[in-house]
């Protein structure tokens, strides 16, 4: 005899009921946790920006952000101006430029729209930092970074992060030994043309003493993540070049 649960009508009703219950449960969990998650993301962006300009709690080889309770005050203390660049050179102040979603701006540019480029200007110990958020693709998912530069486009600090690179390999782009290698590296060549920084496996300068070779040493076993980081630095930072030229003039 056929069991009640084997009937097609029962199966369909069960499936509909299950989808409704699970959907409602997940929607409830997601909406009740949404404010916490949004706040965590906002804090993290501010921590990332400050990290890139050297405001952090690093000890020895570890990379540590400043603590979440201090971040809002430190952000207003160190970030003096936030601008949004349009058309390469036009800039306007926007106190919430850090909330601009780089991913959305990239897809806007792909579909022919105009990409807004946020740039954060910070002052620390009499030095001015220009911090640009950039985004690209790693091996498994997105990689992104905040790169602090001076007005000559020499890197002053960087914070790299990723969505799902392999632990111990590609995920090491957010380790200090990798990020610190970028400090002092030039993004322009000797004649002032934009070159970017290449993550190189065949680097002749593994100790990174030459800061003008536009190369840093690659992470072993993370070739595709490294290539993704190189491509991201090249394609996204290049967009800021016209603005930096106006700064020099």
């Amino acid at each position: 005899m056929e069991n009640r649960t084997d009937k097609n009508s029962y199966t369909i009703l069960f499936a509909i009921g299950m989808v409704l219950i699970v959907g409602a449960l997940l929607a409830f969990v997601a909406s009740s946790l949404k404010p916490n998650i949004a706040e965590n993301k906002r804090i993290e962006k501010q921590q990332n920006i400050l990290y890139a300009m050297g405001v952090n709690e690093n000890e020895e080889g570890s990379a540590n952000f400043i603590s979440t309770d201090k971040v809002a005050d430190e952000f207003t203390k160190y970030i003096t101006k936030q601008v949004v660049i349009t058309n390469g050179t036009q800039s306007e102040e926007n106190s919430e430029a850090y909330l601009i979603d780089v991913k959305k701006e990239q897809s806007k540019a792909k579909s022919g729209g105009e990409r807004r480029l946020p740039l954060f200007i910070g002052e620390k110990e009499g030095k001015t930092y220009y911090i640009a958020p950039i985004r690209g693709k790693g091996l498994w998912d997105a990689v992104w970074a905040y790169v602090a530069m001076d007005k000559n486009m020499v890197v002053q600090g960087a914070y790299f992060d990723h969505q799902g690179e392999t632990a111990g390999l590609g995920a090491n782009i957010k380790e200090r030994f990798f990020m610190d290698d970028f400090i002092g590296e030039h993004l322009l060549d000797a004649s002032g043309n934009f070159v970017g920084i290449n993550i190189s496996k065949s680097n002749a300068d593994p100790l990174n003493k030459d800061k003008t070779d536009n190369e840093v040493d690659a992470i072993a076993g993370a070739t595709i993540t490294g290539d993704g980081v190189s491509a991201m630095l090249r394609s996204d930072l290049k967009l800021y070049v016209p603005y930096f030229k106006t700064l020099k003039n």
Partner: protein
Amino acid sequence: MGLLSRKDSKLILDPLADDNPITIQVLGICSALAITAQLKASIVMAVSVLFVLGAGNVVISLIRNIIPSKIRIIVQLTVVAALVIIVDQVLKAFSYQLSKELGAFIGLIITNCIIMGRFEAFALGNGPWRSFLDGIGNALGYGVILIIVGFFRELLGSGTLLGFKVLGDPIAKTGLYSIGYENNGFMLLAPMALIVVGVIIWVQRTRNKALIED
């Protein structure tokens, strides 16, 4: 075990050793390879699987008599996916840094064969309490192996444990590095996880000959 009957305690203890999901049933190998380059990731993965498998087994056991057999795999998958999303959201809301470090791994729980295996083999045929014990036992058995593999891979691959320098030079030039030791980068690659799991299987079968198949 005073609290549990002999039969019930076997549900917890067997998967820890002689019926281990990884080394005996050879399930859940994928995540053992993917996430064990660091001990911390191994521990959080083990705890997350403990929650998903414990709660999932209870849910499946409670609804086992009303699940249509034609779509039972889809129902099981929906339960795992929902629990994994809840774990992920809770971590994002209350332990954001940890959730970022483990982002991809938490999602990987959905693909863990042990979970679907226990739903199918145990929870569909047993009551909620026994299913809960079975889930906890298997998750612990899985977690133990993950932690052992994570321990050796992080120690020998990075010279650290939970991020702390163990083989390094806590005091300058006193550590193993000063006598020429170097981290074995190969330990961080996935094939080495398979070799470590293989060594555990070898040790386990050498100690207990009954586990060796003819």
